[in-house]
Symmetry: C2
Subunit: 431 residues, 2 copies
């Protein structure tokens, strides 16, 4: 075929602060998916986009071109309304686990296509795979049938949704071009638009445990994504949430499932409950249930019931014992006082090094590895009291995990300011 | 081996306007040469360098790291002093052909390692290959022996000199990262330093027919390269020259050889003679002959004698007929007046499209293809008089060549300002 554009011209245009047309972006994404544009050319383009940015129209065109690079799911045949959630990722972020069944318990469909963890943030599928028998891969028929019967599905996204994004994301990871608003926004939204959900709630995290440190940049990303979703016909709302402190007490895989089940049983750490409820209310409001009593659904067991049905539908045994670690090591408080700081990222890296995460896409994870916190910022502690427990199947890992965590928490005198960066939910962005 | 750095960290540092250390740059170039750093990573780095620039120390380190990636020639065994010239490339730039024998006729050695043309600027080796029998490849022994006996050698640079530069240059060509001062300067100077010459004169061109349009940027590039050469122990001087108008009357291969022989015979176009003499004086001054009478060497045949010996030494027949084209087409003046504009780049592209240049490295060139100008800016022309002749072996090429050239020349009334961008030689940069 005769190519309508020369990729070097397009790279030079973006390099020189130009704006790419719809036709140029559409061709570029298609040519990259076909392999006509080489990875080295796309990575120069990604760096030029990273440094020179993209106009609103370009981000829009890039997102839709990535959607068009693959299949687009269609839920028109479902009797239920679809509503979904996406988090930009954080430490201890297991919210999808209690959230999907909670929302589905109101008779709506939650088609949660998830990924695996890479780096210091965990992956939803890795967590659920610690449940004996549970499987992440469903056929399209199983997926639709479970959405209709149970309502909640958490499963692996197929490679057929937005394949251009899959290719570009892998490239960005090795070329230092991840933290760019146009590239993050188009990556997330192309997958979600291709997934076909009618409504979407975004949990955009900022702070030490998130991809973006700065709340102002987080807000910009949230605004960009809400606009992209709305323009594509997906009812989209975003919450801007604080990821400076780990979410909940569990960081890992099996321990995060355990904590999620506590929430579904009406207990669990206050921050996990708060965020689960807030996101559930948003998802349900977008699906036509603005007055849903989500606290009641946790209290009366209906969310738990949906969880159990969801696990069973995917081959899992909700009553089976979860894996336990071969080695644990407890770290105690060196002095008495108040825990004033507990920095999310080092704890995320620590859990990763203990075996909860993977360095390469093909590595396995240890389902029982991770960290259990015994105190949160603001808690009073006494010298010698356990602060956190590290778990792993390989005790050589404790040392490097501790290296990461060292200096990331602090005990101060009573009255010292608590360094958490403020409230958990710091903003709500709508179209 | 355990790598001391992570390339993604280095890309991110440059992306975020950081300065890379000597150790980081040295490792990066070595790891890229070894294939440990992937092309897509290096192209992201090249774009980050393009957009964020490099400190003086970084350019220095990059240049020396590329020198260290391969062999470095050593002329200590020669009885003659070495002096060389490099041009950043232009349209009709055949200066190396008369210059090398002219300078060598004073008893110095000119080890001119040259390349082939790519794009709209021609290649010295392509031009010389229009001489029947002449060959560009010499063994190291032939190269040294000819330097000692004839003094002038124009031959192909081996792949062993600065291989990192060869790899990076090929990458820059397809990723829109060519026109960057740190990358151009380190590319040129790494090859020249590896080549081992004691003295170097740079012909840094600006204007429509050059890589760099802007004389101020040309001056910056010249200053950067003079500093790099001087720091590496190579006596280096640069001339800043105007490339808005084609050099001489011939653009192509065989016709440029013909014009070079005219200069060596004491004739030739005034601009080609002027630049040849100026560069020869600089090269000879750096080699200890500040008072060499270069005009006399052209007039008395000693430069021509060296030319003939140089061609014969490389298998060529200086008396053989040069190839002639199968088709020619003459373009005449549409009106009478003064030729006020003749834009170098479109004529370079025209000659390229006629077959004088190549689109891909592996393409052959047509030695008889090109353009012969019959008038230069400032000349009075009458309607119907030939302005230029196009030559090719494939008459389907005339149309696209004319498309390139159309609108690139202008005939005005007597007294209209001549648009050439001023004098040929516009600056001289020394350490």
């Amino acid at each position: 075929m005769v190519e309508p554009f020369d990729v070097v011209d397009l790279i030079r245009a973006k390099r020189d602060h130009g704006t790419l047309s719809s036709a140029q972006i559409g061709w570029m994404v298609d040519a990259y998916t076909r392999g006509y544009i080489a990875d080295e050319q796309m990575s120069a383009m990604a760096m030029a986009i990273f440094l020179n940015g993209m106009e609103r129209t370009e981000i829009h065109d890039l997102t839709l071109a990535m959607v068009a690079s693959g299949e687009r799911l269609d839920f028109a045949g479902l009797t239920k309304k679809t509503t979904d959630k996406h988090s930009t990722g954080g430490v201890g972020d297991k919210i999808t686990l209690p959230l999907a069944p909670l929302v589905a318990s109101f008779g709506v469909a939650v088609p949660q296509l998830s990924g695996r963890g890479l780096g210091h943030t965990g992956g939803t599928l890795d967590k659920l795979e610690s449940i004996p028998g549970w499987r992440a891969s469903l056929t399209p028929e199983e997926f639709f049938s479970q959405l209709e019967s149970v309502g909640a599905v958490i499963c692996a996204a197929g490679a057929k949704l937005a394949p251009a994004d899959g290719k570009l994301y892998a490239l960005r990871d090795i070329t230092g071009t991840v933290e760019s608003i146009p590239l993050i926004a188009s990556s997330i939204m192309s997958k979600k638009i291709a997934e076909g959900t009618a409504a979407l709630v975004l949990d955009v995290k900022f702070g030490s445990g998130a991809f973006l440190q700065d709340p102002a940049i987080g807000r910009q990303l949230a605004e960009t994504m809400v606009r992209l979703g709305t323009d594509a016909g997906v009812a989209t709302v975003a919450l801007l949430t604080n990821m400076n402190v780990p979410l909940g007490l569990a960081i890992g895989n099996a321990n995060e499932v355990r904590e999620s089940v506590e929430v579904l049983a009406g207990g669990g750490p206050a921050d996990v409950v708060e965020l689960t409820l807030a996101l559930a209310r948003e998802m349900l409001a977008l699906a036509g249930h603005p007055d849903a009593d989500v606290e009641k659904a946790l209290a009366n067991g209906s969310a738990m019931d949906t969880w159990r049905r969801m696990i069973v539908a995917q081959g899992g045994d909700p009553d089976a014992a979860l894996p336990t670690p071969q080695h644990t090591q407890v770290v105690t408080a060196p002095r008495s006082g108040v825990l004033v700081r507990q920095d999310a990222r080092p704890f995320g890296i620590g859990a990763w090094r203990l075996g909860a995460g993977r360095a390469r896409q093909e590595d396995p994870v240890q389902h029982a590895a991770g960290i259990d916190l015994h105190a949160k910022p603001g808690d009073t502690v006494t010298a010698g009291q356990p602060l956190f427990t590290m778990s792993t199947d390989d005790d050589a890992r404790f040392e490097r995990a501790l290296e990461a965590i060292e200096g990331s928490y602090e005990i101060g005198d009573a009255g010292t300011a608590i360094q958490t960066g403020g409230a958990l939910i710091q903003g709500r962005i709508t179209a």
